[in-house]
């Protein structure tokens, strides 16, 4: 698996979203049980996507201004940025299969090293 890095500031979030063609960011929290079950699904598809997809996670409670900006109403919420713009979101749990289909629908195809 590939553990998603935890972002520590709003600036880090903005930098990441703008830095790569495709960026996945999941909003999570220490008391979110479903987030823990989603994590291995996300880690698997991120690893499979390889260089095609940058990724990170945000503690929604630790960065309330970021959560507010992206209208995070429940956890987990996963955002996909394409070329610096918010392209799509998934709220709640998703299987790795559903995430693969979601990424493909948004034009993210795996790049193997």
């Amino acid at each position: 698996m590939t553990t998603l890095a935890l972002l520590g500031s709003a600036e880090a979030m903005e930098r990441l979203a703008a830095s790569e063609p495709s960026v996945l960011v999941t909003f999570t929290g220490p008391r979110c049980i479903i987030c823990k079950r989603l994590a291995p699904m996300l880690e698997t598809v991120v690893r499979e996507a390889g260089a095609a997809l940058a990724s990170a996670k945000v503690d929604a409670e630790a960065l309330p201004e970021v959560s507010e900006r992206y209208e995070i109403r429940s956890l987990p919420t996963t955002l996909l940025f394409r070329n610096g713009t918010l392209a799509d979101r998934i709220t709640g749990f998703a299987t790795a299969g559903a995430l693969r289909a979601w990424l493909a629908k948004n034009g993210v195809t795996p790049v193997t090293a």
Binding site: A94, G97, A98
Partner: protein, 213 residues
């Protein structure tokens, strides 16, 4: 021994009584396991369960009903339990179920597909692929399952009994993972160490994350 990934505390948290020291109801449980699985194949999970022999027996019979009396393939059920063990980060459980999945006819690539939650590459029927997705979704958020999820199964001719069999596969896998995890119950001597490296990878990732935090 404890789980491979817990090198700092390598012993189980309760006594696992060896087969040759079992008495009374514990011996009855071990005898039933050996009758079903073969001499010496009393798994550490059931040695832990034998602290409460009646529950151990009930859970073993539950497992036998699930694997022996259902209509879905053992390959499917072991694929689901392998995936659950990965989600729950139970390295003994990954090794046990990945070995059982291979014994049920899966190739190494199909075992890896189960560990990557990719039912299309496990060599399952279209019906069992749909049930695998359903199982992982139900495990992730059971109250998030909708009628549409069940309707999607019906397209493949899935019956009520098959849905219950699938959900009970999830329940059983999680229950056994919990006992092994919470009691630090590790691999059996008769297990060859297949996929042992999963636990080591998790440990490395946890250390990397700790350093980064």
């Amino acid at each position: 021994m404890g789980q491979w990934s817990r090198k700092d505390d390598p012993e189980p948290f309760i006594d696992l009584v060896p087969v040759d020291q079992a008495e009374g109801l514990r011996k009855a449980l071990y005898d039933e396991l050996e009758r079903a699985r073969g001499k010496g194949r009393v798994s550490n999970l059931f040695k832990a369960y034998s602290a409460f022999p009646a529950l151990g027996l009930a859970n073993f019979r539950r497992l036998m009903a699930l694997l022996g009396e259902g209509v879905l393939s053992v390959k499917f059920k072991e694929a689901v339990m392998t995936a659950l063990a990965e989600i729950n980060r139970c390295d003994y459980c990954v090794s046990f179920h990945a070995s059982a999945l291979r014994n049920a006819g899966a190739s190494d690539a199909e075992v890896d597909a189960a560990l990557n939650f990719d039912p299309a590459k496990i060599g399952l029927s279209a019906k069992e692929q749909a049930l695998f997705e359903y199982a992982i979704k139900a495990n992730g958020d059971p109250h998030g399952i909708t009628r549409a999820d069940v309707d999607a199964l019906r397209v493949h001719g899935v019956t009520d009994a098959e849905i219950v069999e699938t959900l009970e596969t999830v329940n059983t896998g999680n229950a056994f993972n919990l006992i092994n995890g919470a009691l630090n119950v590790g691999p059996d001597d008769f297990l060859g160490g297949y996929k042992k490296e999963r636990g080591e990878q998790w440990q490395e990732e946890a250390q990397t994350e700790e350093k980064a935090a």
